[in-house]
Point group: C2
């Protein structure tokens, strides 16, 4: 199959596959059907703490967007990042932004997509224009205090004022980048949760995405589609967060550190739901293996060159028809589905082999990132300024 | 005495006389003493409802500033006005701003100061610059939600988000107009009030001025002096407000309307504290008379030309040594002090003569404003667009 001959349906299903939640995709379909231009997608990332392994999940998904011929931007929310950081001056946010560009670019390269396929756009490149600030004030006039306090995690946990502006900024990012869809983690969607201890009490959080869907049309702007990816949980469950060092694998962690962290994970027999390692398999290793297999079949999509520098036989990869491979006592074991892995996991007495398989895979994925870092003095300098010793959040 | 020979002490006392509250005037004194430049003052007015007689109070005080050689700007808070209006598009705020300029300019002329002595500066003329936007975000990052909710009347009465930005805008007005002091009504100051019904319960409102004093230094900017004037109460006590039609005299009210409104005021024997007419005498007629007398003595201050077109013998004006004059049953009565008027008022059985004296004075003061309006089609056009029939707030 020639890449350029993907049908509208194939393109749409590439765009949405594997995502746990989407809204407004009719519009994307209409653009694909009409055919006069590419759909435009954005991903807003906020340069705060150091990017960790969890960032590989959305980056992997972006390969699907590029294969489907989406025109995609990575938006660096630098003003957003300044408003939620509470401590650091904007000059330090600037360095964090540089650090993010180096890390994310190297991860793209590491998964076989040239970093140059994914242009970075700084929020600050359009947020200091008269039109943007006028829209910021217009959107402020249209929003209620409550609406903003209930939107987004950053607002919820802070008593400061700055975070209240972030849903406004992200809604405007959608407009100012001319996007058709905004891609983000499930944490950008709202939820309505009944608390277990009191059946009538509920927590209602409005998502950044719902806020944008509600407010942009009031501004006379288009409501965007929203595509959400699963979030990689922390190694021992909970959130994988830059501010919880034990929960995360840093994209620049050494092989030894990666191995130590993974080996230290508490794996309880029978407990699959909160296990961070199964999530790495499901959200990173299986999708990476699928991309590899699809490349081997020539299915590299709409107009993308993929696969440069990616190992032909990574440790997690087996033959066609399998999703994951690992070695147990010198024997190679192939799995056909993720569920098969999960079911086997729940009966394991020892998790050594499983931990080994995951850690060697992660070490291999991140090796070129670390290597790129070691060859790049600008990146190393940005790191020193972005995260002076001991400063992490 | 030549105008230019005012001493530093005379200039400072001109600047602060008659004001019920000031803070930070040491800095003004230092500038006057140093002598290399004029102090710079600003007054921020927000184009919302139609300007009423209460606006004459600060405008009269500005004559003192000009006489003292202050470099003074009237700042039109147009973005501020947009953020608190909840209903009207920015194009309508624009027309309200034009209307304000016409009214306030005509009132300056009517009190004998050429409108050209008081330059108007639009907030929007600097608020759409990158530096201002960056400062707005910096100040947002430094402020807490609570701090802003407690600051200013507009925030207190609204559930909308826009008003939370107004203390930030006004603080930046102080910086961006290069002011040494910000002049405003007592409503811009905070208060700490013990509620009468519960001795331990207090209401604490932070003022716009306290907010600016606290936050600008955190931005690396100078803390400004704050000068506050008394506010003219409504005709029957309470607040004189554009949104309470019975409380106010519009600057363009006809002589008949002015007379009817003043005649309808409830004057209760013995009740001086809540009476709006005594306040007109104290805050407008007596100061106007003083300016007139000072002009007759050649005391027109530092570098100001005053008195063009102002009647030599207005109805409220008597000879030197008196502060107010009125006619009772064909007899002219002069008063030496305001207290004398207030004491006499509390014993009056009929308030007819007093009401007459006040209404004829107000009619005469506003006559040139109305005349200027009738000769100015641009002003009339702005009025139609700014306040379409029935739209008032």
């Amino acid at each position: 199959m020639l890449a350029q001959t993907l049908s509208t349906g194939e393109r749409l299903s590439l765009i949405t596959r594997g995502l746990p939640a989407v809204s407004g995709t009719d519009e994307i379909q209409a653009i694909l059907t009409e055919g006069s231009r590419s759909p435009k997608g954005i991903w807003v990332t906020v340069p705060t703490g150091r990017p960790h392994l969890g960032y590989v999940v959305p980056l992997l998904k972006m390969v699907d967007f590029l294969r489907a011929g989406v025109d995609f931007n990575v938006c660096l929310g630098d003003i957003y990042g300044f408003l939620i950081n509470f401590k650091y001056p904007i000059s330090q946010v600037e360095q964090r932004k540089r650090f993010y560009k180096f890390v994310l670019g190297a991860v793209f390269d590491a998964i076989g997509v040239p970093a140059s396929s994914l242009p970075f756009v700084d929020e600050s490149s359009y947020a200091y224009t008269p039109r943007h600030i006028m829209d910021m004030y217009r959107l402020s006039a249209l929003s209620s205090q409550r609406q903003l306090r209930e939107t987004g995690d950053e607002v919820g946990v802070s008593t400061m004022f700055g975070p209240m502006l972030t849903p406004i900024l992200q809604a405007l990012d959608e407009e100012y980048q001319g996007s058709d869809f905004d891609f983000g983690g499930l944490d950008q969607a709202g939820y309505f949760r009944v608390l277990p201890f009191a059946s009538r009490l509920t927590i209602c959080k409005r998502g950044l995405f719902e806020f944008a869907e509600e407010l942009l049309p009031k501004m006379g702007y288009k409501k965007r589609a929203h595509l959400m990816n699963d979030m990689l949980p922390g190694l021992n469950g909970g959130k994988m967060s830059a501010s919880l060092p034990d929960s995360k694998i840093d994209c620049l962690d050494s092989p030894e550190t990666i191995r130590n962290k993974i080996m230290a994970v508490q794996c309880r027999e029978g407990d699959a739901k909160t296990n961070g390692l199964l999530a790495i398999v499901r959200l990173i290793l299986i999708p990476l293996n699928r991309l590899r297999l699809e490349r081997s079949w020539g299915e590299i999509g709409y107009s993308l060159t993929e696969g440069r520098g990616v190992p032909e036989s990574p440790p997690y990869a087996g033959p066609t028809g399998t999703v994951f491979t690992m070695s147990v006592d010198g024997t190679t074991k192939h799995y056909q589905t993720y569920l098969e892995i999960e079911q086997e996991y729940t009966q394991l007495q020892s998790h050594e082999a499983f931990k080994n398989a995951v850690s060697e895979s992660v070490v291999q994925i991140l090796a070129p990132v670390r290597e790129s870092y070691s060859r790049n003095p600008d990146w190393q300098a940005a790191e020193k300024l972005a995260y002076p010793e001991g400063e992490e959040e």
